[in-house]
């Protein structure tokens, strides 16, 4: 990867209200529900489909973009797969038009059918496993070193505030060759985009400002292409034409939000699980072949997002429950990944578990997450960074243990650790 480009773009414009605390608002919207899994399992046992909104099960704060819809929630592995694997009955546009299409624009997430297939194939090519593996060395490792160097001399740290919260966002800055001085504003706008679901106007403001910025960036990289991700996307030709500009801008908006926010939470869950099992952490330190097993189990046990959505476009039924056209489907991935009919003793974090089903941390079907392979690389590298750079790392006995909270995007607020000074 190149060094950050010379400043030829106009500066990224901050929110008008500079005192508006995006991270606090996002934290409040996420809620603090400690453990949704017992209720999810109870409901799964009763029926694989309930006429209920997922968010309303755990929060009194309505999602202003979705609350008014005709909600059905789907529980358990097989029923969730039934929805995800039938994109003609359960479409993406009819779910995401209410939020993602407004926050990010015309991304592949909101497309269906032939249009989705056309763009998805091109965009996925930039995120194939062997491509993102290369970034693991060129992009990810320098970010780890930069972050760890800031606290390595202290012998203690909050791995959320000082490591995981910044890690995936800084990787995205590097991939886009952004000026590091702009990263605080960039991080703020990336997260702010989804505040529209809480009714905050800063959501639309962030969407618009990132759109202006990315439009300039695409034009600049198209005129002066390098070997960075945006240059690659800006200069791809399909059937003799560049990819539609609005699709690329929307993709970049989504990349900076979803690629950063979900990965940081998964990273935090992974570290929490292992720090609570010091013997297992030590075993992984000595045998790095176990790192991918730990990553996969953390993704299953408490994945990056607990629910995804689809819109039902024709009358149908699942396990005897009639679902009308127009229903808004809450596909509860957290229930699928803890389904005891597919995973033995599913509530146990067990990196050595028998592979009895494919977990669905990134959903499934044609809309499975484009960035899943990059997320795995980042998670593995983040863990190895802790093991390599923080000798004898352990939870700080003088601070509260990390607690994973939330019902849609779950993570701890802090991971206080101590380690031996080098």
């Amino acid at each position: 990867m190149n060094a950050p480009i010379a400043r030829v773009l106009p500066p990224l414009e901050d929110l008008e209200d500079k005192d508006f605390n995006v991270f606090f608002m996002e934290r409040e919207m996420r809620g603090r529900f400690p453990d949704p899994y017992p209720l999810l399992e109870k409901m799964r046992r009763e029926s694989s489909v309930h006429k209920v909104e997922y968010n309303a099960l755990f929060s009194d704060t309505p999602d202003v973009e979705l609350h008014h819809l005709n909600h059905y929630s789907v529980f358990g592995y097989d029923a969730c797969m039934r929805v995800l694997d039938d994109p003609e009955t359960f479409t993406s546009w009819d779910a995401w038009k209410y939020n993602i299409a407004k926050s990010f624009g015309r991304t592949v997430t909101v497309m269906d059918g032939a249009e989705h297939k056309r763009f998805r194939k091109v965009l996925q090519k930039a995120f194939l496993p062997h491509v993102v593996q290369r970034w693991g060395v060129s992009v990810v490792q320098p970010v780890i070193d930069r972050l760890v160097n800031k606290f390595i001399d202290r012998g203690k740290a909050d791995l959320i505030e000082e490591y995981t919260h910044h890690f995936p966002f800084q990787i995205i800055y590097s991939m886009l060759l952004l000026d590091p001085d702009e990263s605080p504003v960039f991080h703020k706008l990336a997260v702010a985009q989804l505040l529209s679901s809480g009714g905050f106007p800063q959501g639309a403001e962030a969407t618009a400002k990132l759109g202006v910025f990315f439009k300039e960036m695409l034009a600049e990289r198209r005129a002066n292409p390098g070997d960075d991700l945006v240059s690659h996307l800006a200069t791809i030709e399909v059937d003799g034409d560049y990819l539609d500009e609005d699709v690329l801008i929307s993709f970049l908006r989504q990349l900076v939000n979803a690629g950063g926010d979900t990965t940081y939470r998964s990273m935090s869950v992974l570290l929490t699980c292992l720090l609570k099992e010091p013997e297992l952490l030590d075993r992984i330190r000595k045998d790095r072949k176990l790192v991918p097993l730990a990553v996969e189990e953390a993704l299953r046990w408490d994945g990056p997002i607990s629910v995804t959505y689809r819109g039902c476009v024709r009358d149908t039924e699942i396990d005897g429950v009639m679902i009308p056209a127009g229903a808004f489907m809450n596909v509860i991935l957290g229930s699928a990944n803890r389904d005891p009919t597919r995973f033995e003793n599913p509530d146990k974090f067990d990196i050595f578990r028998e592979r009895t089903a494919r977990p669905l941390p990134f959903a499934g079907g044609p809309h499975i997450c484009v960035g899943q392979h990059l997320a795995r690389v980042e998670l593995g590298r983040a863990l190895e960074g802790v093991l390599d750079r923080l000798p004898n790392v352990r939870l700080d006995p003088d601070m509260p243990e990390p607690q994973i909270v939330g019902h849609t995007l779950r993570s701890p607020d802090h991971i206080h650790v101590v380690f031996d000074k080098v």
Binding site: Q124, F127, L128, R355, T356, H367
Partner: protein, 55 residues
């Protein structure tokens, strides 16, 4: 190193491991997988796989 890769999601078929959860035994060559087999990650068809150099 060349592998069959799903162009929709990036799932990479490894002959040594096969796809046991879909009934494809370890050691099965990609060419010998039934045509109605689907990508276990995203449900794409066998025709959606490309043979590519994965380094």
């Amino acid at each position: 190193m060349w592998r069959w890769v799903c162009v929709n999601c990036g799932f990479t078929y490894e002959e040594e491991t096969g796809d046991p959860l879909s009934g494809i035994a370890p050691g099965t060559r990609f060419e010998d997988i039934p045509d109605d087999w689907k990508c276990p990650e995203c449900g794409a068809t066998k025709a959606d796989f490309e043979f590519m150099d994965v380094g």
